[in-house]
């Protein structure tokens, strides 16, 4: 899958306004190409038809001054700058977009109970998927076997939650779909490290993944599973893992 090239922009800094970057109007996304958390935001912005400037942070080389000033607490991407003011944490950014751009297509349903359900499953994805996946490729032996068992359980649970709906949001691609879709590029790696087949373990999720991949917002935001697999290899080298 193709992805837009990234440009690093030099911008004026206003030392009097610690959080806000002077003179910057509109939306700027500080991101890292393969980050599933950043991709959630790219997907949401595309689904909402909101133009923005993409700014790649080369995390392998270190963290830019701009990132450290935009997210001094966690020093992490993604950060969405809106008219210079930073919003941090991917799911918080997604909810911010819902609130700040009420005329754009919504990812969250309007019914409070349905919203609570959507928040629950997005939270579940957040708590479980990346962490367990990381343990799958970082660890060996018994701890890895445990991570594998957990990953199968997570995927089966999500499979059940999706049920026969085309999307977690129902007929429409929604909040949970945007939260989980970036991980579809990681499934291949999870399968290889965990030695399982997704269509066997969670057939509905496998079908959903294909469906998501057919959406322009997702296709344009994600990198290929092979690229993700290679990136994991790079991380393992960096952490000195065999």
């Amino acid at each position: 899958t193709a992805c837009t090239t990234q440009t690093q922009t030099q911008i004026d800094r206003d030392p009097k306004q610690p959080g806000a970057m002077a003179g910057e109007k509109g939306l700027v996304l500080l991101d890292f190409w393969v980050s599933p958390f950043g991709q959630r935001v790219r997907i949401a912005l595309a689904e909402k038809g909101l133009p923005y400037e993409y700014a790649e942070e080369d995390l392998m080389a270190g963290k830019s001054d701009r990132l450290l000033r935009a997210n001094p607490v966690h020093k992490k991407i993604p950060v969405l700058l809106h008219d210079g003011r930073p919003v941090n944490e991917s799911l918080i950014i997604l909810q911010y977009l819902e609130d700040a751009f009420p005329d754009a297509p919504a990812l969250l349903p309007s019914d409070p109970y349905a919203r609570a359900q959507a928040r629950f499953w997005a939270d579940y994805v957040d708590k479980k998927v990346y962490d367990c996946g990381s343990r799958l490729w970082k660890l060996k032996g018994e701890p890895q076997a445990q991570a594998r068992a957990e990953m199968l359980d997570i995927l089966k649970t999500l499979d059940g939650a999706l049920g026969d709906k085309p999307f977690f949001g129902g007929d429409k691609f929604g909040f949970v779909d945007a939260a989980f879709a970036p991980f579809t590029a990681w499934f291949h790696s999870y399968e290889r490290y965990g030695e399982f087949s997704l269509p066997e373990v969670a057939p509905k999720i496998a079908a959903w993944a294909k469906r998501c991949g057919e959406r322009e917002s997702v296709a344009k935001s994600l990198y290929s599973p092979d690229k993700v697999y290679d990136f994991i290899g790079l991380l393992k080298k960096k952490y000195g893992i065999e």
């Binding site: 607490v73 809106h82 003011r85 919003v87 941090n88 944490e89 918080i92 950014i93 909810q95 911010y96 609130d99 700040a100 409070p112 109970y113 919203r115 609570a116 928040r119 629950f120 939270d123 579940y124 649970t157």
Partner: protein, 235 residues
């Protein structure tokens, strides 16, 4: 309160996450059935209502369950928007800031604090304590920014962050009693120390926060039981 609203809270009195929900319900002036769960023998209703995590709190509204304390709080705020104060502000950016600090409280204060209290090794406990104290320092700055001269994270009135942090206050006092450390030290974090005193005076806090003495006995008994079961394996 809207007619025909049936609210049932599945909880356990020592849980700070349950306390958060009780605080929110009290702030909104909502009546509910308080169902005490035996966490060693979870009810059918709990297991059915939260099959994924099997945890409390669960708020059951007209038979429909909502899980996870902060999700419950936002649900209450949205459904009962015209009842009592709003927990989240109207401004989108301020909402994002509030959500950010709620997540911070959970990830950077509560999680390390639990490790400090219940870690398996001295190293784990010491690391948890260090991180918890660091988080308190950061929250002092957050309170300064968010309060904008008012007395709460929510500004002039109680907001989502206040409830998130307020829910753990009895446990913070218990931890202070057990460890001899001052977590909200007026000398180091004056705004937070003042906030604590202000928060516990709220009617909602008096209604919802578990009694510190009772919680201390509970914590001591639980520590003793944990130590006893460890001894069994050491013999």
């Amino acid at each position: 309160m809207a007619g025909g609203d049936d609210l049932k809270l599945l909880g356990a009195w020592p849980s700070p996450f349950v306390t958060r929900v009780k605080l929110a319900l009290a702030l909104k002036g909502l009546s509910y059935e308080d169902v005490e769960e035996d966490l060693y023998k979870k009810s059918e209703l709990l297991l059915k209502s939260n099959p994924v995590h099997k945890k409390i709190p669960v708020l059951i509204h007209n038979g429909a369950p909502v899980c996870e304390s902060m999700i419950i709080l936002q649900y209450i705020d949205e459904v009962f928007a015209s009842t009592g104060p709003s927990l989240l502000p109207a401004d989108p950016y301020e909402r994002a800031i509030a959500r950010f600090w709620v997540a911070y409280v959970d990830d950077k204060l509560v999680a390390p604090w639990r490790q400090w209290l219940r870690g398996k090794t001295e190293e784990e406990k010491s690391e948890g304590k260090k991180q918890a104290f660091a988080a308190v320092g950061v929250l002092e700055g957050a309170l300064r920014e968010c309060s904008k001269g008012g007395g709460f994270f929510g500004g002039d009135g109680v907001g989502l962050v206040d409830v998130a942090l307020g829910g753990v206050l009895s446990w913070m006092k218990v931890t202070e009693a057990l460890s001899g450390d001052k977590i909200f030290d007026a000398a180091k974090t004056p705004l937070l120390a003042a906030w604590v005193e202000r928060f516990i005076e709220l009617d909602a806090a008096k209604a919802a926060l578990p009694d510190v003495g009772r919680l201390l006995e509970f914590a001591k008994a639980r520590e003793a039981a944990a130590a006893a079961s460890k001894d069994e394996f050491n013999d």
